[in-house]
């Protein structure tokens, strides 16, 4: 006799064929993702086909994201400075605040907060746009007129993301440091601009900034690639586009966090 849920509906029993089917579906999806990545790489040696569109994409992504990136970076820098002051005052010299804010902002807060802003502002928008194009047959229409949607839609977005995130990270780093300095001077007794800068320079190595920028580029590629891929996988009308967009945001956020952990050893290279 079939078991029933409290609502009285038959409870779904998970069967082996269902599990195998679902696993196979996921493997197919990974395969399609790999094929998309290969197609993007194959297009890269032909910049004439995508560079103009990539620059336009980079410009729009940058303009759309800049205010929120600046705001998030300022909040991140301010919090890092305040918390350092609250935790360390009395036990360590106040110039350490500069070191902690520099370490926190350059290695983590700058790139990660920028990436999170881009997921919300750019990734969701790309997934929704391509998802809509998929369910309204606009992607098929591109194929039908002899255009390759990967060259026309995906590569410009991925290359645009790769180009725009590093400068955004640099701007976010600068804003985070500035906010850390200002809030530190207000909130921490005895901290002067000279001491803060001394602390920041004490920690700073060029590789840290380079690491921050590399992270930004990797995050930019990841966000735009996953958003494009999930958008192109979209199906099922308006509701499907909503689901696609949500899935893209969740998957990209998880991917960025996992990548952030995996990239830590890179910091120790130099």
């Amino acid at each position: 006799m079939a078991s029933r849920s409290p609502a009285g509906e038959p409870r779904r029993v998970l069967r082996a064929p269902d599990v195998i089917g679902a696993a196979r579906g996921e493997l197919d999806r990974v395969g399609r993702g790999a094929l998309l990545a290969a197609a993007i790489v194959a297009t890269l040696p032909k910049p004439r086909k995508y560079m103009h569109a990539s620059l336009a994409q980079a410009y729009h992504m940058g303009i759309r994201s800049l205010p929120l990136v600046l705001f998030m970076a300022a909040v991140g820098g301010a919090l890092a400075s305040q918390q350092t002051g609250a935790q360390f005052t009395g036990g360590l010299p106040v110039w350490v605040t500069g070191s902690v804010v520099a370490a926190g902002v350059l290695t983590e807060l700058g790139p990660v907060l920028t990436a999170l802003v881009l997921i919300g502002r750019v990734g969701a928008s790309i997934a929704a746009e391509l998802g809509t194009m998929k369910v309204t047959e606009q992607i098929d229409a591109l194929y039908s007129i002899g255009r390759d949607p990967i060259t026309f839609l995906v590569v410009p977005r991925v290359v645009g993301g790769m180009m725009v995130v590093p400068p955004l990270v640099i701007v976010a780093n600068a804003m985070g440091m500035l906010a850390g300095l200002i809030v530190g001077m207000i909130a921490i007794d005895g901290l002067t601009a000279t001491e803060f800068i001394f602390g920041a320079r004490f920690y700073f190595r060029p590789w840290v900034l380079f690491f921050s920028v590399i992270k930004g580029a990797i995050f930019g590629i990841t966000i735009t690639f996953l958003a494009c891929f999930m958008g192109l996988e979209g199906r099922g009308g308006a509701e499907g586009v909503g689901r696609t967009t949500t899935s893209a945001v969740v998957a990209t956020t998880v991917a960025i966090m996992v990548l952030d952990v995996l990239l830590v050893p890179l910091l120790k290279v130099a």
Partner: protein, 252 residues
Amino acid sequence: MIEFRGVWKSFGAEPVLSGVDLTVREGETLALLGPSGTGKSVLLKHAIRLLTPDRGDILVDGVSIPSATGGQIKAVRRRVGYVFQNAALFDSLTVFGNLALALDDEDGHRPLSSLRPEAAELLRRVNLDHAVLNLYPGELSGGMRKRVGIARAIASRPRYVLYDEPTTGLDPVNADIIDALIVELARDLGVTSIVVTHDLESAFQVGDRVALLTEGTIRACAAPEEILASEDPVVQRFMHRRFGTAESTPPA
């Protein structure tokens, strides 16, 4: 010539096409009829590899579509215009942008200014004013969108035009305009056409031959008058349900 040879297609466990054999002759307009959900659009999409068959073959001018190389399929797509059910216009581009994409080559070699007269000429051919060039698809009526979709499909001067439910969602007046346009283009451009529809009136108005797709196979394929005279009970049931009574005759 477009040939479908024993085309099978399933989505999940559900078979949609079960061995479709159909040949579209040079210069004719074939109306592909069938109840909703029987796989007419699915079959049409196989002709330019928007879908690939589980089994069987599709030949366009002798090129096997499922096994064609990337270059071959691109060349076939330039020879086959495809009109989508809801026009599928690129809504982030103006009408001119939509037509320019179809007129230009993939590398965008031609300056946009040189494409404008050709785009205006395409619109004239589908009885639209050139002022429409500057509008976005969202600013067009349903009938206008369909006509722009047709203009985009014929931009590459194709030998074949495939229409997927061209009159669906239109009022009778606009549906008649689109039907007349299909006949006019077939005559003036000399293209071979497949018109997928579940609208019997439309099928008999545009088709030199009519094919009936039911239960995944072609049940009948003949001239309209032969289809009407068919004694096949499945064909009769489809015709009678559509026209109401056995004695009714479809419009010429």
